[in-house]
């Protein structure tokens, strides 16, 4: 088999745009994931049992169903069920974000359990209101302690974005499919796509390590 990377590279513009799209969708979904995960963490520690129960059910449901099915449900079932008509872009980001949120919540729960009790006590003794205790004292430390895990979760998000090709989003995987249908060069195109995925995920990991190094002086 003769590989013709040199022929493909000049035509790989769509891959570049696809990669950008993947990164863009991944970033927003990750933001949604962190937002949802933080919300779930706060709900898990709420004094209302209904919220605490909800978090448990949410988590088991998300982890117990395939991400692809969740995406399809968001895309096909949400509009008829609720009357809210969201496009594939919003549906996809929501689905991936809400999926990731369940995992982020677990990561944060682990981080929270490592915060010494004295931190709560010192904050309470100063008379800080609950909200301030969470957002100024506890959450910053929780996030700091789980940076490597969160970065890893971000790469997981990037790696489930190809599922969004099933709901018509032209992200990197869909873009490469379109390109090899056109050029009949699946091996070259997909190798390139894999390389791009690798570069994205590797850069994210490196960025995570940089973040952690930078904030090492906070550590007790």
């Amino acid at each position: 088999m003769d590989l013709q990377f040199l022929d493909i590279i000049p035509k790989s513009g769509p891959l570049f745009w696809g990669a950008l799209y993947t990164l863009f969708v991944g970033l927003i979904a990750c933001g949604v994931g962190i937002f949802v995960g933080t919300g779930l963490l706060l709900m898990r520690n709420s004094r209302f049992w209904l919220l605490r129960t909800f978090v448990g059910i949410y988590g088991s449901f998300i982890r117990g169903t395939p991400a692809l099915v969740q995406i399809l449900v968001f895309y096909y079932a949400l509009a008829p069920l609720t009357g809210i008509n969201i496009g594939p872009f919003t549906a996809g980001i929501m689905a991936v974000g809400f999926n990731s949120g369940a995992y982020v919540a677990e990561i944060l729960r682990g981080g929270l359990s490592r915060i010494p009790k004295g931190q709560w006590e010192a904050a309470e003794a100063l008379g800080l209101p609950k909200r301030k205790v969470w957002f100024k004292i506890i959450l910053p430390q929780v996030f700091h302690s789980v940076i490597p895990l969160l970065v890893n979760e971000f790469t997981m998000v990037i790696k489930i974005t190809p599922l969004l090709s099933t709901i018509t989003l032209v992200e990197l995987t869909r873009a490469s499919q379109m390109l090899y249908n056109e050029t009949f060069r699946p091996v070259e195109v997909l190798s390139l796509a894999a390389l791009i995925y690798f570069i994205i995920c590797f850069s994210i990991s490196q960025f995570g390590e940089h973040l952690q190094r930078r904030s090492r002086k906070y550590r007790l």
Binding site: G118, Q119, A123, E124, K132, K136, P140, Q141
Partner: protein, 260 residues
């Protein structure tokens, strides 16, 4: 709404104000009674040292005063405010009562300055500049003015504890609680913290200290309270307490502590 202050417990007007009044207080962990019929009255400017063997309930007692621990029955009144389930009262009491812990409990992700700014700005609604001026004043008082931009982990244990004292003082509390402030420190750092506490005492701060530093108790305390098995066994001025302890358990404890 205005807080309703109960009538003063001491009717003579020139007598010092009652800052902490604990009456018939009991505390349980499940079925286990950790504090039994605690009665303790602390007046303004008074310095109380609480000592006793480990597990005697000393820390639990002072942690009840700012509601880090809940008491089951009896009354606690702090600076005229009854300590109840009422969150408003609890918040109010906490803003009047400063506390230092054995493990310092500084916030490791914030600089020394930020540690000191947080509560005055978010509880007292002070402006940043006013809070900073206040923090600088107290950091100077505890003799670490030039470490304000460092993180707690960059300081020694003694320095961290002094920052913790400054952080509590920035709320301008009327009462300070110390929960074994020197127990986690290396011996050569104990004195710097004790000196800071002595200075605070000289300035007339109302203080309740749980400590094993008998030298500090002798020098600074107006009253030494001895606890054993969740009860206040003896309470006396240091001279009487160390020179002529009445209770057998106190005698035994002092023998062990003062032997060397």
């Amino acid at each position: 709404m205005e807080t309703v202050h109960p009538p003063a417990l001491n009717p003579t007007s020139d007598a010092p104000k009652v800052m902490v009044d604990i009456r018939h207080m009991n505390k349980f962990y499940g079925d286990f009674q950790v504090l039994t019929d605690i009665n303790l009255t602390v007046h303004a400017r008074e310095r109380i040292v609480i000592c006793g063997p480990s597990g005697s309930g000393k820390s639990t007692l002072i942690r009840c005063i700012n509601r880090l621990e809940e008491h089951q029955d009896g009354d606690i009144v702090v600076d005229g405010i009854p300590l109840t389930e009422d969150v408003k009262n609890i918040d109010q009491i906490r803003s009047e009562v400063g506390m230092c812990f054995q493990q310092f409990n500084l916030f490791p992700h914030l600089t020394v300055m930020e540690n000191c700014l947080l509560a005055p700005m978010s509880v007292r609604n002070m402006s940043r500049s006013a809070a900073e001026a206040l923090a600088r004043r107290y950091l100077e008082k505890v003799k670490i003015p030039d470490q304000a931009e460092k993180y707690p982990s960059q300081l020694s244990g003694g320095q961290q504890q002094r920052v913790a004292i400054a952080r509590a003082l920035c709320m301008q509390p009327r009462i300070m609680l110390f929960d074994e402030p020197t127990s986690a420190l290396d011996p050569e750092m104990i004195n710097e913290v004790l000196e800071t506490m002595e200075e605070l005492a000289r300035e007339g701060m109302t203080m309740i200290c749980v400590t094993h530093e008998m030298g500090f108790a002798r020098k600074v305390a107006d009253r030494v309270v001895f606890m054993d098995q969740g009860q206040i066994v003896e309470s006396a001025a240091p001279k009487t307490f160390f020179g002529n302890p009445k209770n057998e358990r106190t005698q035994k404890f002092l023998q062990q502590v003062l032997q060397h």
